[in-house]
Symmetry: C3
Subunit: 672 residues, 3 copies
C-alpha cells in the first residue's frame, strides 16, 4: 500500500457539511473541535449528490471547494467521495430506470441508499459525468488524499437490463447453451434451456433450485459490482486525478466476494461495527472482529484503512449498548493491531433528522466537547500520533485458514444434511479462536490464494473446489506442509456439480488416506462425542462416516450407531501430513489440538511461550526492515498482569520490562 499523509496514522471520519450549509456557526465550530480531537482527515461528499447537482446538469461545487480549502488550511485532509451511494430524488423521479427491480420483479420507488441499478446506461452516464467533474475540480487539490468511491456497494438489481447482462456474462463463460445445460444439470425437472433468452435470474417467482444458476448469479452480481466500481475509477482517472482509490467494504458481507476487488482498488478500506456488550461475550466479539480485520487485510495482503466505526453506539441493532470506558480506544487500536493505518468514524456530527439521527457521532446534538465520547475520541487521536512507525509494517502469518466466499455460497445454496444451518463462517471461527487465544496471527484466504508461504493450512468444509485448490493442497502437503481438512469437503466442482467416484474428490483421497461415505445431520439439541488425548469433546451438527485406507485413526465416535468409527485421522503424504476431522467439535478441542500442532509444525506465538490470560491476545506487525511491533490487548473489565518470556519495550513510553500490566480494556504497543 502506498501510505498516505506522510506515513501518519489517519484519524477522522465521515463529515457531512452539506447537511449544515445554512449554518456557518456549525461549520466553524466543526473545525475547532476537529483540531481539539486530533483529527487529521475527514471523508466528505458521501451522499452529497443533491448538493452537488441540485437539478439536472446544474453543478454546484462551490460549497465543497470552501469545505476542502478550509479543512486544508487548518491541517485537515480530505478523503473525497463520489456521491453514487444514493441518487438524488430528481433523478429517480425523471428516470425510473435508475432504480432497482427486486427479486419479485417489481421496480422500486425512490428511497433508501442502495437502490440504483449498476447496469442502467443513464445511471452510469450520470455517475461518470459527476465523478469526472469532481476529479477535474479536486483531483489535484493538495488537501485531498484519496478517492472514496461510492459507499458500501451492495445488493442486486433484477431489471431487464441486468438480466441481459447476466446472459452476456454466461455466454462469455460457457460459450454454448449445451455447456451451460450440463454445468447446471438442467435435465433435472426438464429445465433444459434451448434459447439464451430463456435464462433468468434466480428468484422466488421463478427458479431457485438450480444450484449452478444460483451460484453463477451470485458471481455475476459481484462481477457487475466490480465493473461499476471500475467504471467510477475510470471516471476519476478521465477527470485527470491520479490519487489512489478505495471503496469501503463491509467485512463478512455475504453478498459480495471482496477478493474480486483486489485489482480495482488501490487501498482496501472497511466499516467496522462490532456489537460490544451484545449477545455474544466481548471476548467472542473481539475474536470475530479480529477475524474480520484479517479477512479484509487478506484482500490485498497489505495494510488497510478502518474507514468507519462508531465513537459510541449504533442505532440499528435491535438493542444498542453503550461502550464502557476504554472500550472505544481498545476497539480502535485493535484495528491497528491487525493492519489498519487509520481510525475513522461514522460520523463526525449527528444529523438532526432522518434514520441515523441517534447513531453515535463524535459530536452529538448537545454540540459541545464536554462529553464522555468526545474525550475518548480525543485520547485515541493522541495515541495514534505516536504510532506512525507502524504504517509500513504488515502482519505476516504462517498459518492460513481457507475461507472462500464462493464455497460458502455454494454450500449454503445446496440442499443437504442441515439446510440453512451449515454455519461455515462460525466453523471457520471455531478454528480461528484457537490461534487468537494463543496470540498467533492468521491469514483468511480464498481458494485463489497461493499457499506456499504457510506452514499450516486449515481448510474447513471445503465443499466446492475451484482455482486448482485440490492440486495446490496436494502440492502443499507433498512439499512438507501440514493440512487440516474436515467433513463436507471435496464434493463438487466449480459449478456445484458433484464429483464422481470417491471423495474428497478432485484428487484428495490419497492425501487424506481415506474416503468419505455418508453424513448424518444432527439437530441443534443433539450431540455425539469423541475422546482424544484422554479428554472427551462434544461433536455437533454434522457427523461424517469415513472409510480410512492409509490414514491412521486418532479418535473415534463414542455414540450412536456409528460409535467406534473414525472421527479424527492423520495421513503422511509426501513430506507433509494431512489431518481429517469428520465432525464439528466444540471450541476447546481446537485449542487443545492446535496447541500441540503448532509445536509440531514450528509456528511460534507472538509472545512465545507466554501463557496469555483469558480475554488477552497479541498481534504483530513487522516492517520490511524486520522491526516488529507487538500489540497486546485486554478485552476484559479486569486489570491483568503476567510475566513475559523475553523483556519487551513499550513503544509509547520507552519503558522495558519482563512483565505486562494491562488496565481493563487496555492495549499496549511493544517492540522487541
Amino acid at each position: 500500500m502506498a501510505t498516505l499523509l506522510n506515513n501518519q496514522m489517519l484519524h477522522g471520519g465521515d463529515y457531512n457539511p452539506d447537511q449544515w450549509l445554512d449554518r456557518p456557526d456549525i461549520l466553524k465550530k466543526d473545525i475547532e473541535l476537529m483540531k481539539q480531537a486530533h483529527v487529521n482527515c475527514v471523508s466528505v461528499g458521501i451522499f452529497a449528490w443533491s448538493s452537488l447537482e441540485p437539478e439536472e446538469g446544474h453543478y454546484t461545487f462551490g460549497w465543497l471547494k470552501d469545505v476542502i480549502d478550509t479543512l486544508y488550511s487548518n491541517g485537515i485532509y480530505t478523503v473525497l467521495a463520489t456521491p453514487s451511494g444514493a441518487r438524488p430524488t430528481w433523478m429517480a423521479h425523471k428516470y425510473p430506470e435508475v432504480l432497482r427491480v427486486d427479486q419479485t420483479l417489481h421496480r422500486n420507488h425512490m428511497g433508501g441508499r442502495h437502490n440504483h441499478c449498476y447496469t442502467s446506461p443513464i445511471y452510469r452516464q450520470k455517475v461518470w459525468e459527476m465523478d469526472k467533474r469532481l476529479a477535474e475540480a479536486f483531483g489535484k487539490h493538495p488537501g485531498v488524499l484519496l478517492w472514496h468511491l461510492s459507499n458500501e456497494y451492495g445488493g442486486a438489481c433484477y431489471c431487464p437490463l441486468c438480466q441481459a447482462e447476466f446472459r452476456s456474462w454466461l455466454k462469455e463463460k460457457y460459450g454454448t447453451l449445451d455447456a451451460l445445460n450440463k454445468a447446471w444439470w438442467t435435465a433435472f425437472w426438464s429445465h433444459t434451456y434451448t434459447d439464451w433468452e430463456q435464462v433468468e435470474a434466480p428468484g422466488p417467482r421463478g427458479e431457485e433450485l438450480l444450484h449452478g444458476l444460483v451460484l453463477d448469479w451470485r458471481r455475476f452480481v459481484t462481477a457487475r459490482t466490480v465493473d461499476f466500481c471500475s467504471w467510477e475509477k475510470q471516471a476519476v482517472r478521465a477527470g485527470g486525478s491520479d490519487l489512489p482509490v478505495t471503496t469501503n467494504m463491509m467485512g463478512f458481507y455475504y453478498d459480495l466476494d471482496y477478493t474480486k476487488f483486489k485489482d480495482v482498488v488501490d487501498i482496501v478500506s472497511w466499516d467496522n461495527y462490532p456489537n460490544w456488550r451484545g449477545e455474544a461475550s466481548d471476548v467472542d466479539t473481539a475474536i470475530h472482529t479480529a477475524a474480520t480485520h484479517d479477512l479484509m487485510r487478506c484482500v490485498q495482503h497489505e495494510p488497510f484503512l478502518m474507514m468507519e466505526n462508531t465513537p459510541s453506539q449504533v442505532n440499528w441493532h435491535s438493542v444498542n449498548r453503550l461502550k464502557a470506558p476504554g472500550m472505544h480506544e481498545l476497539a480502535s487500536l485493535q484495528a491497528v493491531a491487525h493492519g489498519s493505518n487509520s481510525v475513522q468514524y461514522f460520523q463526525w456530527r449527528q444529523s438532526r433528522g432522518a434514520s441515523e439521527k441517534f447513531h453515535g457521532a463524535v459530536i452529538d446534538h448537545y454540540g459541545e466537547s464536554d462529553t464522555r465520547v468526545f474525550q475518548e475520541v480525543t485520547h485515541v487521536g493522541e495515541r495514534l500520533e505516536g504510532l506512525s512507525a507502524l504504517c509500513h509494517a504488515n502482519v505476516q502469518p504462517q498459518v492460513a485458514i481457507l475461507f472462500d466466499r464462493e464455497n460458502e455460497w455454494a454450500l449454503d445454496a445446496a440442499c443437504g444434511p442441515r439446510n440453512g444451518a451449515m454455519h461455515y463462517e462460525q466453523t471457520m471461527e471455531s478454528h480461528y479462536q484457537a490461534f487468537w487465544r494463543m496470540g498467533i496471527n492468521v491469514d483468511l484466504i480464498s481458494e485463489e490464494d497461493d499457499l506456499s508461504d504457510y506452514r499450516l493450512v486449515i481448510a474447513p468444509m471445503l465443499y466446492l473446489h475451484r482455482a486448482g485448490i485440490a492440486d495446490k493442497l496436494r502440492d502443499f502437503v507433498a512439499g512438507g506442509g501440514t493440512l487440516v481438512g474436515t467433513y463436507w469437503s471435496g464434493l463438487v466442482d466449480e459449478n456445484d456439480l458433484c464429483f464422481e467416484g470417491p471423495t474428497p474428490g478432485g484428487n484428495l483421497t490419497d492425501v487424506y488416506g481415506l474416503r468419505t461415505e455418508e453424513i448424518d445431520g444432527l439437530r441443534d439439541e443433539d450431540c455425539n462425542h469423541m475422546i482424544w488425548n484422554g479428554k472427551t469433546y462434544q461433536l455437533r451438527e454434522l457427523c461424517e462416516l469415513v472409510r480410512p485406507k492409509d490414514a491412521k485413526t486418532l479418535a473415534i465416535y463414542s455414540d450412536d450407531f456409528y460409535a467406534g468409527k473414525s472421527v479424527l485421522t492423520v495421513n503422511r503424504f509426501g513430506k507433509g501430513y494431512a489431518y481429517f476431522l469428520a465432525s464439528r467439535a466444540e471450541d476447546s478441542f481446537y485449542r487443545d489440538f492446535y496447541r500441540l500442532l503448532i509445536e509440531q509444525v514450528g509456528v511460534t506465538p507472538v509472545l512465545g511461550k507466554t501463557e496469555l490470560p483469558e480475554g488477552v491476545t497479541a498481534s504483530k506487525r513487522t516492517a520490511k526492515d524486520g522491526r516488529a511491533f507487538i500489540i497486546v490487548q485486554n478485552y476484559t473489565s479486569k486489570t491483568v498482569c503476567f510475566p513475559l518470556e523475553n523483556p519487551l519495550t513499550n513503544l509509547e513510553n520507552g519503558q522495558a520490562g519482563d512483565s505486562l500490566t494491562l488496565q481493563p480494556y487496555g492495549v499496549m504497543f511493544l517492540s522487541e
Copy 2:
C-alpha cells in the same frame, strides 16, 4: 354529553336483521328475547349496504323501517348506523377505485371490511347519497337515538388519489418545499425534493427512513379519516337529522389519533374486547381495560358509550377462553365505573355463516334463552336499570398521565436504543397500575390538553414536544404542580428533528435541574438496579445517564460501568417539584413511589386510607351537584372482605356499612 334515552343507561347491542330477512320467525323471536333480556336499544344497519341498495341507485329501506318501527313499538330504541364500514360487492366490481391500494402499491380486490379509499370521489359520493337518504328516512324517527357513523374506521389507502391529497396536506402545512426539506432533514442520503410531485407516502418499496415523512403520513391518515367521518356527519345533517353522532373507536388502536375526533363526534363510543383469562392475569387485564376506558373518556373528558363487548367469548384471539360466571357482569360494570353510560354487545344473534359465526352473541345458534350467557346478560340489564343516577356523573381525576399518540408514533419510528421495543404504552401502564391499585382515578391526556386542573402530571418518555407542551409543563411546575418525567424525553421537535443543545430540550433542563447525555439499551434478559428508600428495584430496557446540576439525587444505579450515577432526582422549580426517573423500573417501584408522592401532593384515593386487597379497585363518578358514586370491583375469584375508613351506602339496596364484602368477580355501587 347530551344524555340519551331519558338518562337511562343503555343496554343492547349490534343487531343485524338484514341477515335474517327471509326468517320472520327469527325476527319475531328477537323482540321477545330482547325484552326478556332488558334490552332498551340496538344498533342497526352496520354493514347493511347490500340490503339497503342491492343494486346501484335502487334503495330498499322498507325492511329497515319495519325493523325500527317494530323495535320502537316494543320499547326498544335504535342506534342507526351508516353502512359505510363495508361497501357492497357490486360497487367494488363496477368502480375498482373505491378499493384500497396497499403499502406495496397494489390495488386490493373486493373483500374484508376496511377496504375502501377515504378519498375516492365515487365512494364519497355514494356514501353521501346513502347517508343523506337514511337521514331523510329515519333522522326524525322517535325510535332513533343516535347516528353510528360507519364502523371502526381504520387503515389507510396508498392510491394515487390519496397520495395527491397527502401532497396537498403537506403544501398546506409547510408552504414551501424548502421548509419541508428542512423539517424532514432530506439532505440525508440526497433525498432532497425539488418538485412536490416527488413526494410519496412512505412504504417498503420506497422510503421508510425519513422520520418526518413517516410521522406526517400518520398524521395525514388520521386527518383523512377525520375528514371522512366529518363528511358522513355532514351528509346526515344534509338529510335533515339533528340527532347526535358517534363512531365506535377501538381504544389503544395504534393507527389513529382519536383525540382529533373530539370535535366531530357528539358522543364518544368504543368497542371493548379485553382478553379475560388470557395470557395476562385477570388483574393485569382489568388494569389495561381500565386505562383504555380512561383514554376513551379523555377524548372529550365526558361520559361515553361502550358500544360493543362480547357477552361470552370472541373468536379472533389465537385461543378464546370462556368467561367464568360473574366475569361478564364485572367487565360490563367496569365500563360504567370509568364513565360509560352503556353496556352494548356485539352481537345480538350469532350469524350462521362467515368469519364471525362463532363470535359470542347474546343468542347463539341454539336460539333459546336457557343458556348461561343469556342469563348473565339479563342480569346485567336488570342492574343497569337501577343505575340511571350515574348518567350525569363524570370521572374527575386530579392525576394525569401524558400518553400522546403522535409522540408514540415518533418514538416507535425512530431508530434508537431499542428498536421496535420501546414499549411506550406498557411504560405508561407501569405508572397507571400504581394508581389503579390505590383506587385513584387518572386521566390519560395528550400534549394538547390543558394541565391546570391536575395536582400531579406524569410524562413518561416525552420524546417529542408539540402543542407547547414544554411551556405548559414549565408553567405547571412553576405554579405549584408536581411533575414526574423520565428518560428519552425532550429530544425532538414536532417534526421529529432533534433539539440542539442540552436535553430534555425545549426549555426543560432547568425544570428538572439536569441534562441527559447518553442512553444504554438493555436486552430483555438484562437489568440494572437502584436502591430507593431502603428497597432494591430492578431497572430494565433503558438506562439514561444524566448530569444533575441543581437536581438532588434520590437514587443511583447500582450496576454496570455507570454504577453510582443518578437514576432518580428531584428539583424544586418555582412553587412545584420536578422528578426525573432515568430508567424503567419494575412495577413495585411505582407503587411505593406514588404512594408516598400522592400524600405530598394531596391526592386522596376514592376510598381514602382504606387498604385495598390485591385485585380490588375503586372508581368514582361525581355529579354536577357534587353527589359521588363509588364503584368497587373485585377482579379475583375469591370473596374479599375489608373495613372502610368511613361508612358508605349501597346504591342498589340502600344498606349502609363500615365494611365491604365482595363476591368473586363482584362489583358494588356505593354513595357517601
Copy 3:
C-alpha cells in the same frame, strides 16, 4: 386391485436415464447394479419432457425405447410416466399461460415443478399430444406394467381461466346466485353477489373470511386436479393403451382430497418419507406412517403401491438424519404390512447437480455397490421375493376412524376457539395410536364411506356434516354399532353454515343423549383433568360444556369453573352405544379406554391376548381364501422377545413357535 408382474412384490424406483444420455458407461452399469439389487421394475420418464420433446413438435422417443427394451431384456419392467409433472423451459417461454398465477394474482416465471395451470387449453393440448404419443409408442410394450400419470399433483392456480372455471363449477353446484349467497352467508359485511362475474377465488388481496367460499375453492381445486388427471388417463387411452394407471399421492397432503381420485386411478400409489430419528420418537413416527399407509389404502380399500421412499436420507428436512442399520428394511416392510405391494425408491441414481443431488439414492455419486445403503436395499429385494403370497391379501379392519378432508378444511378455516391450532390430524392420531399399540388394524375413512362393515366407529371433531353422515351414524348405532364422538362435532352443514337448534346437529343429540353448549379454548400450556376408572388424565386444548339428557356421565371435569360437569358420557341408542368425549385427553386415556371398549364390542387384536412390548406392533393381511399373514414389527433399537397366545409359523423360514424374538428394527412375517 389388478396385481402386476405375475403377483410379485415390486422392487425398484425412479430411474432418470435422461440425465445420463451422454454416458453409456453409466447406463450399462445401472443395469448390472439393478440386477444385483433384485430390482424388478423402475419408473421412467418422470420430468423427461425436455428429452422427449426438446423443441416444440419435435418428438425424440428413441432413447426411451432403448431404455425400456434394455430393461426388459434384462428382466426389469417399466412403470412409464407421463412427463407433465414439469413443463419444459421452451413451453413456458413461448406460452406464459401454461404457468401458474399465485394467490397474490401474479403470474409465475418458469421454474420449479408444480408450476403449470391445470386449466390452460395450451397446456392441456400439449399434455394430451405427449401422453397419446407415449401410449401409441409404448402402451403395448410387454416390458411396460403401468402408467404413472404426472407426479405428485398439487397446488393451485389463480389465473383468469381457473377463476372462470371456478365460477362454472359454482353455477353447476348452486344453480342460482341466491342459493350461493345463502350458503355462504354473504349478507355478512355486505358481500352479497349480484353477478357471477363478481365471484373470485379467496386470497389475501381479496376475500378470505367467507368460509363457504374458502371451502368451495378447496373443493374446486381437488375437482380441477382430478379432472386433469382424468384428462391424462383419457389421453393414454386415446393412444390405445389399456394398461392400468396410477398417480403418486402424498399421504396426508393437505391441499387435496384424495378420496375423489378413487374412480380415476386403477391403483393407488404414494410417496412415503417418514422422518426417522427426527424430532418425534421413532415409535411416534412409525404410528404416523402406519396411519398414512392406512389412509392411502382406504382410498380404494385395496392394496396399493409405495411408489417412492428414500433408501437412505432425504435432503429437504431442516436436518436430515441417517437411518440406523435395519431401519430401512423395517420401514420398507411396514408398507407391505399395511397393504403395499411394492417397495420403490426415489431415486435409483443420484443426480450430479440441482436441488436433489444430495437426496439419498440407491447408487450415490461414488457409484459402486460397496456401500451400506446398497447392501441394505439388496437385502430388501431378496426378502420381497419371498412375499409374493401377500399380493392378493388385503387388510380388513373392524374399526374405523372418520378422518374427512373436507371436514378438516372447514374446521381449520373457521375462526373459533383455537385458531390455527385445532389439530384435527393429531387428534385422530391420538385415537389411532391406541389401536396400533394393541396390534389392531384400523381404516381411516371419509364421510362418504359406508359404515356397515365396522363394529366400532370413532368420529373425532366431526364438525361438518356431509354425505348423509348423521343418518349413517344414527343407523350405525341404532343397528348395534358403537360410536365414539367428541367435542366440536355436528356444528355446520356441508357449506359450513351453522345448524340451528341443539348440537351435535343434524340429528345426533338423541344418539348421544345430550346437547353441547359452550366450548373453552385452552392455551397450549394449560390443562384440565378428568378422573375415569380410578385414574387421572390430562385434558388439553378444548373443553366443551355439555348438558346431558339421557346420557350417563362416566367422568367429570376436575378443574376450573366447570369442575363437576360431564366430560365423558355414554348413551344407549337402539341396539348400540354412543360415547361422547367433551375434551382432548392425553394419549394414555385412549389406550385405557379402547382396551376396555374393544372387549365390549368384540374386536380382537391381530395377536389376540398377547401383550405387545412398547414399540412393537402387528398387522394382518387376509387373502380371499381366508389365509392370514401377520406382520410383526419392532421399532426399537433393542431385541425384544415375548410369548404368543397361539403358535405361529414364520413365513420366510417355515419355523413355528410359541414365542417371538425380533432383532432391533426387526420385522417378521407369520402365518397361522
